[in-house]
C-alpha cells in the first residue's frame, strides 16, 4: 500500500506551475457475465482558476451503448456510460495532462481569519432579507449529507480547536493538525461506507475518512465546508524509481472563509494543498463525486483493480520513470501488472476501497 502521508514540512514554493500526466485505470472482472451496466464517472477535472487542463482522454472497454457528458448539480463534469451487451470485464482508463499553478501563500499560515462564531452567526437566517451571494453559495455545504452526519460528538471533538473568539482559519488548521496527529492511516480499518462516527471512535482510516470526519466537525459547528476529490503527487522512497500505478485517488476538505473564499485543507497530510494536489471535483461528500459509481445486473462476485499514476511531466519527458509503461498502453495489460505494491483484493459487498 502506497503512502499518501507526506511529512508536514513547509512547502517550498515553485515559481511556476507544475505539469502532470495522471492516469487513472479501473478494471472490473466479474465472476459471471454482466447483462446491463450503467456507470457515472467523475474522472475529468473541473475547470478551476489554478489548473490548466491540456488534454483529457477517456478510454472505455467494452464499447458502451451510451456515453454522454454533462455537468452535475455542483458543476463537476460527469460521464454517463451504459452497457447493454453481456461482458465479464470493464476497463476505464482516464488520462489527463494538467498544469497546476501555485496558489498557496505562506501568509495563509499566519492568517487567523475572523472569529469563527461571527461567521456562523452571519449565516443564520434573518427573515425575508436577501442573504449575501457568497453566504448562500457557502450554505450549500453547511449541512449534514448522506456520508457526513453531524452531531454533538463531532462538535465536541472540534471544540478544543474552536475556542471562543479564535480565527476561523487558525482554528480549522488546528483541527486539521489534530486529526493528522491523533488518527492512524490504516487502509484496512475502513471501507467506502464507514460512517464518520466510527472513524472518530476507531481513530483510524484513510484520506476519505479524515475528510469526512473533518467535514462532520466543521458542519456540526455550523461552518460550511466541502469535500474535494482529486490526486496527490507522492514521492517514491529515496533512491527508488517511481512506480507506475502506485498512487491513489485522494480527498481533502475545502473550508469557506469569508473574505478569502474557499481554502483547501488536507487533514491526511496536515497541509494546505498547493501544486502537489490536483483537483477533480467537489461536492458535499464522497457520494457526490465518487470517481466511479455504477449499478450492474448480474456479474456475481467481482474483483476490481484501480491503478493511479501521477507523473510530473518533466520526469515523464526525461523518461525518468519505469520504462515501457507509458500511460497510453492498453488498459487491459497496463496497470495491474506494474502495480507491485498492490495485491488484488476481493471486493466486499460490491465496494472498492482503493482510497488514500
Amino acid at each position: 500500500m502506497q503512502t499518501s502521508r507526506q511529512p508536514p514540512t513547509a512547502p517550498d514554493l515553485p515559481d511556476d506551475g507544475v505539469a502532470y500526466r495522471v492516469t487513472h485505470a479501473t478494471e472490473y472482472r466479474y465472476g459471471a457475465a454482466v447483462a446491463l451496466s450503467q456507470q457515472l464517472l467523475h474522472l475529468a477535472p473541473r475547470v478551476v482558476p489554478w489548473q490548466l487542463c491540456r488534454a483529457h482522454r477517456l478510454a472505455v472497454g467494452p464499447q458502451p451503448a451510451l456515453r454522454l457528458e454533462r455537468q452535475d448539480a455542483f458543476g463537476n463534469p460527469v460521464t454517463h456510460l451504459a452497457f447493454d451487451s453481456p461482458h465479464d470485464r470493464l476497463t476505464v482508463l482516464a488520462e489527463t495532462e494538467i498544469e497546476v499553478l501555485p496558489r498557496f501563500s505562506p501568509a495563509l499560515l499566519r492568517l487567523a481569519g475572523q472569529p469563527w462564531e461571527g461567521w456562523r452567526a452571519a449565516l443564520a437566517y434573518r427573515g425575508a432579507e436577501p442573504p449575501p451571494a457568497d453566504q448562500l453559495a457557502a450554505a450549500q455545504f453547511a449541512f449534514a449529507s448522506p456520508y457526513v452526519h453531524t452531531g454533538p460528538a463531532f462538535a465536541a471533538y472540534a471544540a478544543p480547536s474552536f475556542t471562543p473568539g479564535r480565527g476561523l482559519l487558525a482554528a480549522a488548521r488546528d483541527l486539521m493538525g489534530r486529526i493528522y496527529r491523533e488518527f492512524e492511516f490504516d487502509p484496512q480499518a475502513t471501507t467506502v461506507a464507514t460512517p464518520a462516527a466510527e472513524v472518530l471512535a476507531k481513530k483510524r482510516g484513510v484520506c476519505q475518512d479524515f475528510a469526512h470526519l473533518m467535514l462532520a466537525c466543521l458542519r456540526s459547528l455550523g461552518l460550511p465546508a466541502r469535500y474535494v476529490s482529486g490526486y496527490l503527487l507522492t514521492d517514491p522512497p529515496p533512491g527508488t524509481p517511481r512506480l507506475i500505478g502506485a498512487d491513489a485517488s485522494h480527498a481533502w476538505v475545502s473550508l469557506y472563509c469569508p473574505g478569502l473564499g474557499w481554502v483547501d485543507l488536507d487533514p491526511t497530510n496536515d497541509l494546505i494543498p498547493d501544486t502537489r494536489h490536483i483537483t477533480l471535483a467537489w461536492g458535499r461528500d464522497f457520494g457526490d463525486v465518487s470517481p466511479m459509481r455504477g449499478v450492474i445486473l448480474g456479474g456475481g462476485a467481482h474483483e476490481v483493480e484501480v491503478a493511479v499514476t501521477v507523473l510530473p511531466l518533466a520526469e515523464s519527458d526525461a523518461s525518468g520513470a519505469v520504462a515501457g509503461t507509458t500511460p497510453g498502453d492498453a488498459p487491459h495489460d497496463g496497470p495491474g501488472k506494474e502495480s507491485r505494491g498492490r495485491e488484488r483484493r476481493q471486493v466486499r459487498s460490491g465496494e472498492d476501497d482503493s482510497r488514500a
Partner: protein, 849 residues
C-alpha cells in the same frame, strides 16, 4: 324520532359540528340526509351496514398495517355516512386548494431551478440544502410545462370558527384517492336515492383528467402511438398496495414494480413476454429517493437504474417529479403566505395551521416557552419521527425536549394543536344512534394544461375515539365518503362504464409483465408440489398407522422413494449420533414444520406468496381457498395432532388443492399467463412422477415389496388406484402399472401425458411469442418422449421382475425416466432465462475510488 338518533350525540363544545348548527338545529345541507336516517328502520340500517362490510370483504379492500407474508391484511374501515359539503363552500375550498397546488408547484420549479426564493431570503437555506428530501441530482433536470406536481393531496381540518385550514401537503405520491373511489362505489349504493336527489358531484371526470393530463405531458412518440403509462408500486408489502392495484385497474395503467422496467440508452421500457415496450409516463407510488439507484439512493433495490437520466433526456415523464417530496416539510407552512405574494402575486387563500420553524431564533424562543400547548414535529418528514404533544409531557420530559430543540433547532417545527370538527358516524353497538367523531379531510388535485383541477370529493377520516388528536388508519380510525353537493346538473360520466367499440376489444394479455408470468408459473409449480408432497405423506402415514407403528415392507419401499425425493427430514438426530427420530415424528414434521424446506407447510407458504404477487389475476374464490388452506394448516398445527388427525388434515388439504386446480381450469382466462401456469403445473408433476417411478425401478426386486403392497402405494402416489382397479379388477402387477403410470397418454397422472402436454403448450407459446428456434430443452423432451413411447412393455411381463436383481429392463427404463427428470429441470431454467425477469438477480450498486 330525531331524539333517538341524537340521544348519545354530544352537543359540540369547542368544536365545529359538521351536521348541527348552534342550538342543535340540523344544518340545511344535512337536512334531507338526516330525515332519511330518521325515517329508516333498524332492519334497513342493519342491511346497509352488512352490505358495506360484505362489499369491502368481497372487493378485498385492505390496508396493510405492516408487511408480513404470514400476516393478514386489515380490512378497510368505512363508515356509511358521508361527509356532506354544500356547493358554495366547496367552490371556495377547491379554489383555495387549486391555488395551493399552483403555489407548491411553483416552489418546486424554483428550488430545482433558479432558487430565487433562497436568494431573496423568502426561504431559509436549511430547509432546502439541509433537507434530505432535496435531491441534488434532480436540480436543473426540468419538467415538461414546468409541471412538477401532477397529482397532490392536501390534508384539511376545520377550526371551531368554521374555516378550513391546511395542515399538511402530500406532494410525493399521495395515497388515498383509490380508497376514496372505492368508498364512493359502496356508499352511493347504500343510499342511491339520496345520492341522486342531492345531486352529488361524480368523481370519474377527475380521474379522466388525470389520464389525459399524464398523456398530455408525456413525451410524444414519433410513430404517433398512444403513450404507455404505467403505475409504479413498491410491491405487495406496501401498506396501500390494494390501492395501487385498484387505481391501476381503474385508470387502465399496467401495475409494475421497479424490476419490470429497464432503461436502455435513455429510454424506459417495460419488460413483457413479447419483449421490451417503451414506457412514456410513470405514475409513481414509490418514494422518490428509491426510484433510481444509479443517481439517488444506491441502496435501493426497488428502483430503476438510469431513470433520472431518462427524465433528464425528456424521454419519460415521472409523476410526480423526482424530488418533489421536499415541499412536504411542515417547516414550509409559515413561509407560504409571503412566497404566494411573490410567486403568484396574490394572497394565500387558505391559511395553514400556525406552524413555527425553530430554525428562526424568535420561533425557538416561543416554542420553548409555550411547549405545553404545542405539537413538536420533525421539520423533515423523511425522518419519520412521531409527533410529540407538549401537553402530554411531564416537566422533566419537557426539559429534555427543550434541550433537543436547542441543540438542533433547524430540525424541528412546532404547531398549534388543532381542534378538529366533528361529524356523525353510525354506531355499530347502539342501534339507531349517531356518534360524534373528530374528522379530517384529504382533498386531491390534478395538474391539467388549464391549471389544477380539484377532485369534487375526497377521503374523510374519522378518529376511533371522541378526542383523538391523530387521525390515522393505522390506529383504528375509519374513513368516509365525501359528498360535494352541486347546484347544477351533475355529469354522470363514468370511467367504469365507458362503452367499448368493436375495435377496442382486448383479448389476451400481450403486455403482461414478465414478473406476473413468472409468478403464475411458480404458482402452478407450488400448487402441484403441495399436492404431491401431501400425497406422499398420506401414503406413508396411512401405512404407518395401519401397521400400528411397525414399518412394513411396503412402507420401507415408499420411504426410500421419499428419501430420494428429499421429502423427509433426516432420520438421525443431528446433535446425537446414533439417536433416531421416530418415523411418525419425521412424517408429521414434514407436514407442519415450515422450517423443513421441502415439506407441505413450506411449500404452502411459497404457494401463498406467489399467489399474493398475482392477486389481481385470481378470482376471489381462488384467493379465499388458498387463504383458508393456510389457516387450517396453522390451526391444526397448534393442536399438536396425532397421526390420525394429521391424515385427516392431509385429506382436506388434497381436497383444497384439487379445488385450486379446478379454479385454474375453470376460472382463468386462457392467455399466455395461464399457459405458463399450466406448464408450471405439468413440469412439476412430470418431474415428481419421473423421479418417483425411476427410484422405484432402481430398487432391487425384493426391496420394492411388489407383492406386498409396493405397487399399491405407487398407484396411490400417482392418484391412479381407481383407474387401475376399474381396468384390471385384480392385484396390481408391474406391467399394467407401468403402462398406466408411464405410457398411457390418456391418464392425466401419467408421465407421458405430462410430457406431451408440456410439449404442446411450449410450441404454442413459441409460435405466439415469436420464438423461431426450438431450444435444446424442448428438443430433449420430445426426443425422450419418443423413446418413452418406444419402450417394449413385454419385457416386464409376468413374475420375472418380482425378484429380479439388476434386471436390465428396469435399469434402462429408470435411466430414461431420470433423463426425463433432468431435462425437465433444465427446461424450467431455460424458460426462466428466456421469458422471465431475473427476480433473484437484483441490480446492485458498486463504487470505486
Amino acid at each position: 324520532m330525531a331524539r333517538t338518533l341524537l340521544s348519545i350525540y354530544p352537543e359540540s363544545t369547542g368544536r365545529y359540528d359538521e351536521m348541527l348548527a348552534a342550538g342543535g338545529k340540523v344544518r340545511p345541507h344535512w337536512q334531507s340526509f338526516f330525515d332519511h336516517l330518521d325515517g329508516a328502520s333498524p332492519e334497513q340500517m342493519r342491511h346497509r351496514l352488512a352490505f358495506v362490510q360484505r362489499r369491502i370483504q368481497e372487493n378485498g379492500v385492505t390496508y396493510n398495517v405492516y408487511a408480513d407474508p404470514k400476516g393478514t391484511d386489515r380490512p378497510w374501515e368505512l363508515d356509511p355516512l358521508p361527509l356532506i359539503i354544500p356547493a358554495e363552500e366547496w367552490r371556495q375550498l377547491s379554489a383555495a386548494v387549486a391555488q395551493r397546488a399552483t403555489l407548491l408547484n411553483a416552489v418546486l420549479a424554483d428550488l430545482y431551478g433558479p432558487q430565487d426564493l433562497l436568494a431573496s431570503g423568502l426561504l431559509p437555506p436549511a430547509l432546502v440544502y439541509g433537507h434530505s428530501d432535496y435531491l441534488w441530482p434532480c436540480r436543473h433536470v426540468g419538467q415538461p410545462g414546468d409541471t412538477y406536481l401532477h397529482f397532490l393531496a392536501v390534508d384539511l381540518a376545520r377550526s371551531p370558527d368554521g374555516r378550513w385550514w391546511a395542515i399538511a401537503d402530500r406532494t410525493q405520491a399521495p395515497s388515498g384517492a383509490g380508497y376514496a373511489l372505492e368508498n364512493r362505489l359502496i356508499v352511493s349504493r347504500v343510499f342511491p336515492d339520496l345520492f341522486r336527489d342531492l345531486k352529488v358531484e361524480h368523481l370519474a371526470g377527475f380521474f379522466r383528467s388525470l389520464q389525459e393530463s399524464l398523456a398530455h405531458y408525456a413525451p410524444g412518440d414519433s410513430q404517433g402511438e398512444a403513450p404507455l403509462i404505467v403505475l409504479l408500486t413498491p410491491g405487495p408489502y406496501n401498506e396501500t398496495y390494494f390501492e395501487h392495484a385498484y387505481l391501476a385497474r381503474y385508470l387502465g395503467f399496467p401495475l409494475v414494480e421497479g424490476q419490470d422496467l429497464t432503461v436502455r440508452g435513455e429510454t424506459v421500457f417495460l419488460k413483457t413476454l413479447t419483449g421490451l415496450k417503451r414506457v412514456h409516463a410513470i405514475l409513481r407510488r414509490q418514494d422518490d429517493a428509491f426510484c433510481d439507484p444509479l443517481e439517488l439512493r444506491g441502496d435501493s433495490a426497488l428502483g430503476v437504474p438510469g431513470l433520472l437520466q431518462a427524465v433528464r433526456a425528456g424521454r419519460v415523464l415521472v409523476a410526480n417529479a423526482l424530488g418533489s417530496g421536499v415541499v412536504e416539510s411542515g417547516a414550509l407552512l409559515g413561509f407560504l403566505p409571503a412566497i404566494s405574494e411573490r410567486l403568484l402575486g396574490e394572497p394565500l387563500k387558505m391559511p395553514s395551521i400556525a406552524t413555527w420553524w425553530c430554525g428562526e431564533g424568535p420561533a425557538l424562543e416561543y416554542a420553548c416557552k409555550h411547549l405545553e400547548r404545542l405539537v413538536i414535529k420533525s421539520a423533515f418528514p423523511g425522518r419519520r419521527i412521531d409527533p410529540l404533544f407538549g401537553a402530554d409531557l411531564k416537566a422533566a420530559e419537557r426539559e429534555q425536549v427543550r434541550a433537543r430543540l436547542q441543540a438542533d433547532p433547524a430540525a424541528y417545527v412546532v404547531q398549534e394543536l388543532v381542534e378538529l370538527s366533528q361529524a356523525p358516524t353510525w354506531s355499530r353497538i347502539h342501534e339507531r344512534r349517531l356518534l360524534a367523531r373528530p374528522v379530517g379531510l384529504r382533498v386531491y388535485a390534478v395538474a391539467t394544461p388549464q391549471g389544477y383541477r380539484v377532485m369534487p370529493g375526497g377521503l374523510a377520516r374519522v378518529a376511533g375515539g371522541t378526542s383523538a388528536r391523530v387521525i390515522s388508519m393505522q390506529r383504528g380510525g375509519a374513513s368516509k365518503d365525501v359528498w360535494v353537493l352541486s347546484d347544477e346538473p351533475v355529469s354522470t360520466f363514468s370511467l367504469l362504464k365507458t362503452s367499448i367499440g368493436a375495435k377496442d376489444v382486448v383479448r389476451g394479455g400481450r403486455s403482461l409483465s414478465s414478473r406476473v408470468v413468472e409468478n403464475l408459473f411458480w404458482l402452478g409449480r407450488y400448487s402441484e408440489r403441495c399436492d404431491h408432497t401431501s400425497r406422499f405423506l398420506r401414503v406413508a402415514l396411512a401405512r404407518l398407522v395401519e401397521a400400528g407403528g411397525e414399518p412394513s415392507q411396503a412402507l420401507q419401499s415408499a420411504l426410500a422413494v421419499g428419501d430420494a425425493l428429499g421429502l423427509l427430514p433426516p432420520r438421525e438426530v443431528a446433535e446425537a449420533k446414533g439417536s433416531f427420530v421416530p418415523l411418525a415424528e419425521r412424517l408429521t414434521r414434514s407436514v407442519f414444520d415450515d422450517s423443513w424446506a421441502t415439506g407441505v407447510a413450506a411449500n404452502l407458504r411459497r404457494l401463498q406468496w406467489s399467489a399474493t404477487q398475482v392477486r389481481e389475476r385470481l378470482s376471489l374464490d381462488h384467493w379465499h381457498a388458498i387463504n383458508r388452506l393456510s389457516l387450517e394448516m396453522q390451526q391444526t398445527r397448534e393442536t399438536r395432532p396425532e397421526p390420525g388427525e394429521t391424515l385427516a388434515f392431509l385429506d382436506q388439504s388434497l381436497l383444497a388443492l384439487a379445488s385450486l386446480a379446478g379454479f385454474t381450469m375453470d376460472n382463468m382466462t386462457r392467455d399466455e399467463g395461464w399457459r405458463f401456469h399450466v406448464v408450471g403445473r405439468r413440469i412439476e408433476r412430470l418431474h415428481f412422477l419421473a423421479t418417483a417411478v425411476a427410484t422405484f425401478l432402481a430398487m432391487e426386486g425384493p426391496e420394492r415389496a411388489q407383492g406386498q403392497g409396493g405397487l399399491e402405494w405407487l398407484l396411490e402416489l400417482a392418484d391412479s388406484s381407481i383407474t387401475y382397479r376399474s381396468r384390471y379388477l385384480s392385484q396390481p402387477e408391474l406391467l399394467p402399472v407401468l403402462d398406466l403410470l408411464v405410457l398411457d397418454e390418456d391418464n392425466p397422472h401419467s408421465i407421458a401425458f405430462q410430457a406431451q402436454v408440456v410439449g404442446r403448450y411450449l410450441s404454442r407459446l413459441q409460435r405466439e411469442l415469436g420464438q423461431p428456434e426450438a431450444a435444446e430443452g424442448e428438443g430433449d423432451l420430445a426426443f425422450l418422449l419418443a423413446r418413452l413411447r418406444a419402450v417394449d412393455l413385454g419385457r416386464f411381463a409376468g413374475d420375472v421382475c418380482a425378484d429380479c436383481i439388476g434386471c436390465q429392463a428396469c435399469d434402462e427404463l429408470a435411466d430414461l425416466l431420470w433423463a426425463l427428470a433432468a431435462a425437465t429441470r433444465e427446461l424450467s431454467d431455460r424458460l426462466a432465462m428466456r421469458y422471465f425477469t431475473h427476480v433473484g438477480d437484483v441490480s446492485h450498486q458498486i463504487v470505486a475510488a
